[in-house]
Symmetry: C2
Subunit: 141 residues, 2 copies
DNA sequence: TTAACTGACATTATTATAGTATCAGTTATA
DNA sequence: TATAACTGATACTATAATAATGTCAGTTAA
């Protein structure tokens, strides 16, 4: 049971890397090496980030990727949604149709509450604040 | 991405059913029928609940399962732990060894915070309170 | 003695996750 | 202008987790 898959995890690390070298283009190779992420897998992930325009790319020699949004405006929810769909703590029947039984509903109501909470917390975790923590570790808290 | 698997889901429903007929033994058949859960799957799940002594069983004709703890003392975390292990929002490298890089650490720190929050919330959701909501829907809030 | 049960496994199907491989096309530059 | 360093797109494979199903031995009440 985990809420973050490797896709998301690596994507966040890539974004941190890109946010750290804001105006340069970094190639997939460079990011893969620095973050120790499998190269081909990372490329796949970067394509995902492009689709949502979190990064832009430049083809050809000297090309690569560049971050395309202010780091404080990219939350980890944005990344999760790309690779894992909406945050959802359980398969919910009543999202699709009427509950089969009330026991389900009662449980779902509680789960949904926690789900919203997680969503809110995750929205508050941005690439910007992760990068800040990364660069100025003493300042935290 | 989901935090509750079918195992957990069905287990909770079974516990609600059992909590509702506190002193009777209910057979797996009865529970399966009432909650519309696959019979053989449910039996497997009930064995899981037995191992942690959340329910006890009686063999032979007229046998079945009975809840073995006060419903308010069974939280959904107890159930999750049986079927899914500890709540863990992501594979965490630093649980195993030192972080490969600091980016990881910074992210983990945040994820762990949310993880604790989820844990706390889930601990507050007990079979007892779910059952209460189920029986007295107007009283909620 | 038999029907209705549980205990304990073995087995299978499906899906999600993680990762690899390939090839076409683009661009800077030697 | 050839080529090395890139991305785009997509097909493929491996592994593990999830969600079941099936079977058979043993127990108990009627």
């Amino acid at each position: 049971m985990k809420l973050l898959t490797k896709h998301t995890d690596y994507a966040i690390r890539a974004l941190l890397e890109l946010a750290g070298s804001k105006d340069e283009f970094l190639s997939a190779q460079q990011i893969a090496k620095r973050q120790r992420v499998p190269y081909q897998f990372l490329r796949q992930i970067l394509q995902g980030l492009i689709k949502d325009k979190l990064v832009i790319s430049k083809e050809g020699r000297g090309g690569g990727f560049r971050i395309n949004k202010h780091p404080y405006l990219i939350s980890i929810v944005d990344v999760i949604v790309i690779f894992q769909g909406n945050i959802q703590l359980s398969d919910c029947m009543f999202r699709k149709k009427l509950c089969i039984n009330r026991a389900n509903c009662v449980l779902r109501k509680q789960i949904n509450r926690v789900e919203k909470l997680v969503n809110k917390e995750f929205k508050g975790i941005t690439i910007g604040c992760l990068l800040r923590d990364l660069e100025k570790p003493k300042r935290r808290g």
